[in-house]
């Protein structure tokens, strides 16, 4: 009797998070700082040393922010002592409803990726003027 493979039904807005990728390269989880500028947005700083700027990819899919870096081709040298080898980076974060996903900006400098996640207009605190009659 043939076995049937049934695809698990996927919820409409279920995030596709995963702890690792299925790619054959090695990946490590980069360390990050996340802080909040009140009323403005979040800032994510991630240490991703040794990448060319084309090798850093940032994507948002189903409310999940994916930071991915592909290891550069290293120069083969006659090593006499090694403490690190170039590896890729992979880390995901689920974004809250407050983030304006269309306005995410990122910058890669000195091996640090800085991602700015602004809050959506409707999520920003608002002052309502009280008129005194």
């Amino acid at each position: 009797m043939a076995e049937a493979t049934v695809v698990r039904p996927v919820e409409a807005n279920e995030p596709t998070t995963q702890e690792s990728t299925h790619e054959p390269d090695r990946y490590i989880t980069p360390v990050v700082d996340i802080y909040e500028n009140e009323g403005v947005g979040l800032v994510v700083l991630a240490d991703l040393p040794g990448l060319a700027s084309d090798d850093v990819t940032l994507s948002v899919e189903k409310d999940v922010l994916t930071i991915k870096g592909v290891a550069r081709e290293s120069v083969e040298r006659p090593w006499v002592y090694r403490e690190f080898t170039p590896v890729g980076y992979f880390r995901q974060f689920t974004l809250g409803k407050k983030i304006d996903q269309g306005a995410i900006k990122a910058e890669y400098k000195h091996g640090v990726l800085r991602v700015t996640l602004p809050f959506a207009e409707e999520a920003k605190p608002r002052q309502i003027e009280v008129k005194v009659a």
Binding site: R26, I28, T29, P30, V31, V32, D33, I34, Y35, E36, N37, E38, L42, L45, D47, L48, P49, G50, L51, A52, S53, R77, P78, W79, V80, Y81, R82, E83, F84, T85, V87, Y108, H110, G111, V112
Partner: protein
């Protein structure tokens, strides 16, 4: 007479096996260490790779997010010292604003003994995408000299 075991030889082969096991650990394990930050493992920050060819020694140091002006490289004979500072979180960010704080900052210094003496006048360094690359040409006195044999 049959010799069941040779103590000396057995111990030497055991020692070689252990050395080999640790070699494998060093080369494979290092990639997964995440010590990009002085706070986590200050004794061996930054991680380095050292390569040597006939004329030059190449050093790569893994140090993301440094303030480029703070990097200080000093060479004395065959001693290389790298010092610098990785800025911590911006001073205007208060502790209660943090959602996650995994990166650390601070000053660091690390000294290595290089495989040969270097010509300190010709040392070049470059800091790009978090990796500090230092090229150190060997000193003339450290290069091997070829001696011609006169045939009578």
């Amino acid at each position: 007479m049959l010799r069941f075991f040779d103590t000396n030889q057995d111990f030497q082969s055991l020692r070689r096996d252990i050395d080999r096991a640790f070699d494998a650990f060093r080369t494979n394990g290092a990639a997964f260490r995440q010590a990009f930050l002085p706070g986590r493992s200050p004794r061996n920050y930054p991680h380095v790779n050292i390569a040597e060819d006939a004329d030059t020694i190449h050093v790569e140091a893994l140090a993301p997010g440094l303030n480029p002006d703070s990097i200080q490289i000093t060479v004395l004979r065959n001693q290389l010292t790298i010092a610098g500072e990785k800025p911590g979180e911006a001073s205007d960010v208060k502790a209660e604003q943090f959602h996650r704080c995994e990166r650390a900052g601070g000053r660091f210094v690390r000294t290595f003994t290089l495989p040969a003496e270097v010509n300190d006048a010709k040392v070049a360094a470059e800091y790009r995408s978090g990796i500090l690359t230092i090229t150190l040409p060997k000193a003339e006195t450290a290069k091997p000299k070829k001696i011609n044999v006169a045939v009578a």
